[in-house]
């Protein structure tokens, strides 16, 4: 492969990988705090992104439309967490898993009723005309996605490491009883985790929509985010980011060597391969399942 082609594949791989990383992060943020996997995460960012689309169509300036999406994401998360998840207090993690799965179907149906299931072009804030990077030609959108994602990831890292709220979230992730005894309001941390995750997901949706077209199908990205999270050891935030990037690059690399038809199986092939070699994921500690 020529250097130009390699750079091209790498850049677009890292761009999709950033999106997987962000979606994976949103799953992990909720999981770490509450020990549940929110399968509705995908449909939640679909709804948020559609809100931006509607706002932009109504003539709102783009930055304002994005802000609307972020606010919608936060409100949606708060409502779902308060009205449904928190009320099913006696539910086991499995019950909540089914609840979020059901929610994803309901949200998708509702989004379809409001916005239809068609594909819509989404306003792009980064140029689509290739620019030259060394010998390669790269679309600015890819660089924009990578840049914005990296900035958001760094902000999340700082939030969790250096702020009181971030420390409280990490404390709840480790030991809920102890967190209560430190004076942390655990329910408030749950809400915060849902809101934060939803906002991160919304940003991922806003970043990817111009590339893939906006549609209710975009929610399926949650699967790739999930795989990125598992690759990273489900729980480790740097692990998810690396898992997402790896997945994105390999997914873009694979069609060059493998029959094109296999492209959509690549994430799962990678997942199985890594779990066989490193059962705890890339960054995770291994808790072996007894056989």
């Amino acid at each position: 492969m020529t250097t130009a082609a390699l750079i091209h594949v790498l850049v677009s791989g890292l761009a999709t990988g950033s999106i997987y990383g962000l979606v994976g992060l949103s799953l992990v943020i909720v999981y770490n705090a509450t020990r549940t996997v929110n399968f509705a995460q995908g449909e939640m960012f679909v709804v948020s992104t559609f809100v931006a689309w509607s706002a932009a169509r109504a003539g709102w300036p783009l930055p304002l439309a994005f802000l609307a999406a972020v606010v919608a994401a936060a409100v949606l998360a708060l409502v779902i967490e308060r009205a449904i998840i928190r009320r099913s207090i006696a539910a086991t993690h499995w019950d909540v898993l089914i609840i979020t799965l059901g929610l994803s179907l309901i949200l998708r149906a509702l989004a379809g009723i409001v916005w239809s299931h068609d594909d819509f072009p989404f306003p792009s804030y980064f140029g689509n005309r290739p620019i030259a990077i060394g010998p390669a030609r790269v679309v600015p959108v890819s660089l924009g996605i990578i840049g914005a994602s990296v900035v958001l990831m760094a902000l999340l890292g700082a939030l969790f490491r250096f702020t009181r709220a971030g420390r409280a979230m990490r404390a709840v992730a480790q030991n809920q009883t102890a967190a209560w005894l430190m004076g942390i309001s655990v329910p408030r941390v749950f809400s915060a985790a849902w809101i934060l995750a939803s906002v991160v997901g919304a940003v991922a949706g806003l970043l990817i929509a111009p590339v893939v077209f906006l549609s209710t199908k975009m929610g399926l990205l949650v699967i790739n985010g999930f795989i990125a999270a598992v690759l990273g050891g489900f729980g480790s935030m740097p692990g998810v980011v690396v898992g997402g990037m790896l997945l994105g690059v390999i997914e873009n690399l694979a069609p060059l060597y493998l029959p094109t038809g296999i492209r959509y199986s690549v994430p799962f092939i990678l997942l199985i391969a890594i779990l066989v070699v490193r059962p705890g994921g890339l960054a995770g500690r291994v808790h072996r399942r007894k056989v």
């Binding site: 420390r167 409280a168 009883t177 209560w180 005894l181 430190m182 942390i184």
Partner: protein, 239 residues
């Protein structure tokens, strides 16, 4: 300062406490004795809001905190060092201490709290960058106590702080309990080591299958034949 009035606590159908009443005055050290499963930890959990009494009331300075959430009870000045320490294993020693100060907003107060913790347990300063999970049992117990003190409580609930520690460390822990008491903090001490506990406390209560079966000044409890036999491992009647 702390008043527990006839509380019942059940775990599902299982009754753990029945009509338990006790009180701890401002700055007083009181011990709660009892065999395994008597309900000592449950009593502490009810006070700190981890379990809800089905009946009865819990008051702090006359304020009813029976239905208050655990985080609000910490804010009222009651800190609980739970059975089994319950540290944050992935946090460093220092992060564990900092999260103990979650309810304190002034940077200055938090820094003073850290200094106080290091003065009380110098080993924690040496280990401050180490993950809590890698500490020895004794160090973990010290960290658990220091972490609770970071909230600057007026009342400390201690659940078997000497459990599983070597005799030298048990002495150390009891020295620290005296030191904490000397700063005016009230202590409700659950202990398996009744001799040491009665030595540290001015009064005590004895729980048996969820009920208070004896109470009184430590000196009196020490002479009680039943307590001598059951908890002090001595012959029934004092010599």
């Amino acid at each position: 300062m702390l008043e527990v009035e006839a509380i019942d606590v059940a775990y599902g159908k299982r009754r753990a406490l029945e009509g338990v009443s006790l009180s701890v005055g401002e700055g007083e050290v009181v011990t709660l004795l009892g065999a395994n499963g008597a309900g000592k930890s449950t009593t502490l959990r009810a006070i700190s809001g981890l379990v809800r009494p089905g009946r009865g009331r819990i008051l702090c300075d006359g304020r009813d905190l029976t239905r208050a959430p655990a985080d609000a009870i910490v804010a009222l000045g009651i800190a609980h060092v739970p059975e089994g320490r319950e540290l944050f294993p992935d946090f460093t020693v220092e992060e564990n201490l900092l999260v103990g100060a979650h309810r304190r907003w002034q940077r200055e107060a938090v820094r003073e709290g850290l200094e106080r913790a290091h003065r009380l347990f110098p080993i924690l300063r040496e280990r401050r960058r180490q993950r809590a999970a890698t500490l020895s049992g004794g160090e973990q117990q010290m960290l658990a106590i220091a972490r609770a003190l970071m909230a600057r409580p007026r009342m400390l609930l201690l659940d078997e702080p000497s459990l599983g520690l070597a005799p030298r460390l048990v002495t150390e822990i009891f020295r620290v309990i005296d030191e904490i008491h000397a700063t005016g903090v009230g202590i409700l001490l659950v202990e398996q080591n009744a001799r040491l506990a009665l030595g540290a406390a001015t009064r005590g209560y004895v729980l048996e299958t969820g009920r208070v079966v004896a109470e009184g000044p430590s000196a009196v409890l020490r002479e009680d034949p039943r307590i001598r036999q059951a908890y002090l491992g001595l012959a029934g009647t004092p010599p």
